[in-house]
Symmetry: C2
């Protein structure tokens, strides 16, 4: 009897049979994420229904020193959910209940398998929304595990800013609360912040209490075309400095617009373009949009369009929305590598310029786009992971961008997390602090069963 079948039999003693699987299709689904990272099968996939299930699984795994890798929908981009050491893939799809909405407290309490769109559909009934938007329809548990963010973090912050409390099952099966329902607290160490972004290496989340927001009275989208990346970034700096509260402010470079035009048969100006979104009251927002327009033209903006109606807003953002598809479409059968560095705001213009130059020089083709309100920018290149030369080029690009960010006081990942893809950069980025992280990891997971091989190099 193989490892998988043996584990299956043992796990069936503590969980109903339909919550444990070694079906090859199921194992395959849990062997990969959306990135170029090499797949690896788990020995078994379990589907807990509640925190008691998770606690039992964890105790079981701890006693036998079996690796446990949490799994949401597999939308991660750095191999977080790939069980490189085999063992148990802990799939949270059956724990997808919205447990409580507290509109007066602007709080919601949910299970980790709830997805972003599922949550927002429910919150809409209360006039509320959850702002963090990484693009993918990820589970909220997964988003908390990687400290995800996205286009709206310039206004609303990242996952860590939204998490008021986590219920966490630790390596030994014990269960803790990391926070409370209050807006703030100075009581003891901030464990919520520590567990957010820990990528399943310190425990498994079984419940999250999150901050939510009132749906803004009015939303306006805008698109602004610039002659150069420098002028576009300079406009962003002026808009941010003026205290205009952008809800989203995204930069797309000229090559990216060109590819969308090819893909969609459109004729948007092939120039660096800013995509903006404003949230606010009718009156306040109108003022913000007009002021932003003025500052854009002060920075050589060539075209500034804005729309308030929902459909028109989507049309205006078409290039940004279709960007990844346009590159995926042109490269059938290839996998996506998305880089994810972040630099201080003052370094952004030079950094985006450098990223485009690096792509061209290395001989790849791809998009450069940035969450320019927070200094986080991505390149998207399509590669065949089995083509050694292409993979090497992509890794060279990644390494170059990380080096560049580090040399400017930046970080190797703004929002995708470390996983396996950024583990090699942790020593350089954190120095002595990495030892502190390892001490914390080792004391909370002494047997090293929690998502081994992630964040820390094996």
């Amino acid at each position: 009897m193989g490892m998988s079948a043996a584990l299956l039999e043992e796990l069936k003693k503590i969980l109903p049979g339909d919550q444990v699987s070694i079906n090859p299709t199921v194992l395959d689904q849990h062997s990969k994420d959306e990135s170029y990272h090499t797949p690896h099968f788990p020995d078994v996939v379990v589907f807990p229904k509640n925190e008691e299930d998770v606690s039992r699984i964890m105790k079981f795994a701890s006693e036998r020193e079996i690796p446990v890798t949490p799994f949401g929908v597999g939308s991660s981009l750095e191999g977080h959910v790939i069980p490189y050491h085999g063992g148990i893939s802990l799939d949270f799809q059956l724990m997808n209940q919205i447990l409580e909405v507290r509109p007066e407290d602007f709080l919601v309490r949910i299970q980790p398998g709830v997805t972003r769109t599922q949550l927002n559909k429910e919150l809409k009934k209360y006039g509320l929304f959850f702002p963090v938007d990484p693009g993918a329809d990820a589970t909220i548990g997964g988003m908390a595990a990687t400290n995800a963010s996205g286009t709206t973090s310039v206004r609303y912050g990242v996952m860590r800013d939204q998490v008021r409390d986590l219920k966490v099952v630790l390596a030994d099966g014990s269960i803790i609360h990391t926070g409370s329902m209050t807006v703030k607290s100075s009581s003891g160490y901030s464990l919520s912040g520590l567990f957010v972004g820990s990528e399943g290496t310190l425990g498994a989340f079984v419940e999250l209490t999150l901050r939510v927001y009132g749906i803004p009275e009015a939303i306006t989208a805008a698109r602004a075309v610039f002659p150069s990346i420098e002028t576009a970034v300079s406009a962003v700096a002026d808009i941010m400095s003026a205290g205009i509260q952008m809800a989203r402010i995204e930069l797309v470079d000229a090559r990216s617009v060109q590819q969308v035009n090819l893909y969609n048969n459109t004729d948007f100006p092939v120039k660096p373009t800013l995509f903006m979104e404003f949230h606010g009251s009718e009156a306040g927002m109108r003022y913000d949009v007009e002021f932003a327009e003025k500052l854009a033209f002060d920075n050589q903006c060539e075209e500034f369009l804005f729309e308030t109606d929902s459909k028109a807003r989507n049309r205006l953002w078409e290039v940004r929305h279709n960007l990844a598809y346009a590159f995926v479409h042109k490269s059938p059968g290839k996998k996506m590598m998305v880089t994810d560095v972040v630099v201080p705001m003052s370094e952004l213009g030079g950094a985006v310029h450098d990223a485009r130059k690096a792509i061209d020089e290395i001989g790849l083709d791809g998009a450069v786009l940035g969450h320019v309100g927070d200094g986080n920018y991505h390149t998207i290149v399509m590669i065949d992971p089995n083509n050694k030369e292409e993979l090497e080029k992509a890794k060279k690009l990644n390494a170059h961008l990380v080096d560049y960010a580090h040399s400017r006081g930046g970080s190797c990942t703004g929002e995708h997390g470390v996983g396996v893809g950024k583990a090699i950069y942790q020593q350089k980025e954190h120095g002595e602090a990495l030892n502190v992280m390892k001490l914390i990891k080792n004391v909370l997971d002494p047997k090293g069963i929690l998502n081994p091989g992630k964040i820390f190099m094996d």
Copy 2:
């Protein structure tokens, strides 16, 4: 030769003589904070000039297992800086340099001994300000150590939200960086958030990189009088729900207004009163103030006044500014006990009501005031710590308020921290999570030299 003199001689081998003191006046200054907690002398006070000094002191203390208690200006309210186990008081007054202002990045890099007003004086030259305002002119290092906040946290967040990076000397003298200069990062565990609020129990801060903000174009202050606490709190809920971004929103109860009237010979309406501050652009803010006024009157507001000019704003906030003085003035020779619980927003009306009832029933006299935008409220009572009966009453009030907060999903401290005063509530508040905190404490400070007796019970 006593312990102090022996330590002095040893420390003089690693630090210049004028940076080490056992002068009784100096020891006395470092034996207490601003609270009712019993003073205790350190054996010696050291004044490091740079991180190398701090590292040397820490190595020295570690080798000899001597307690080290960091000290800013001693404005803490829960005994954080009182060296109950003797040893070394680590005074940061000579490390008070503003090292770098980066206006384009909205960042400032400072030493821990810089005070709040010193920082804002420098930032003003750049059109910037640091928003966290706990009232006292504390050091920024101390504010980070307790995760301080205050009247502006409703808009700008707490200390933890402002800290981008800390340089920390650990128990063994090694030095780490906890973060970077970027707005966000998903790289490794969030150590900045862990060290903020650790109250000197995990390491000593020697450098802080903080987020700063543009001084708002316009500021308006307002005062609104209500017939009851419930109507005032209901107005706050409506104002917050409407998405009006308050910079400050404070509640003062009727008894507190009465005491200020007596102290100042004024005749403000002896009723629950809200004090508000709005930050924004001229146009946006006017809209916010008018909308807030409408919502106040919808909730039976009896008087709504607002002012934009700086002096007039201060006059409008007179009651709030003079509140603590009014009670201190009426109780010469006594010490202040300030309670500091926080509850979810929906519980605030009942909680403030309960606090007033508890003070009256226990037979104390004092103020009830709240940072009502974030559910954090204080009572201020004046006591003679040597009067056993008074001290018991004050402790009873504290315990009652903490119990009330815990029963409503709240926390025992919103912004003052744990120190010695709230250590007895940690087990109840955190349960199993307190064990996780202890594991982290023990692995980072295996000899227990860092501010022993704080956060965790001896």
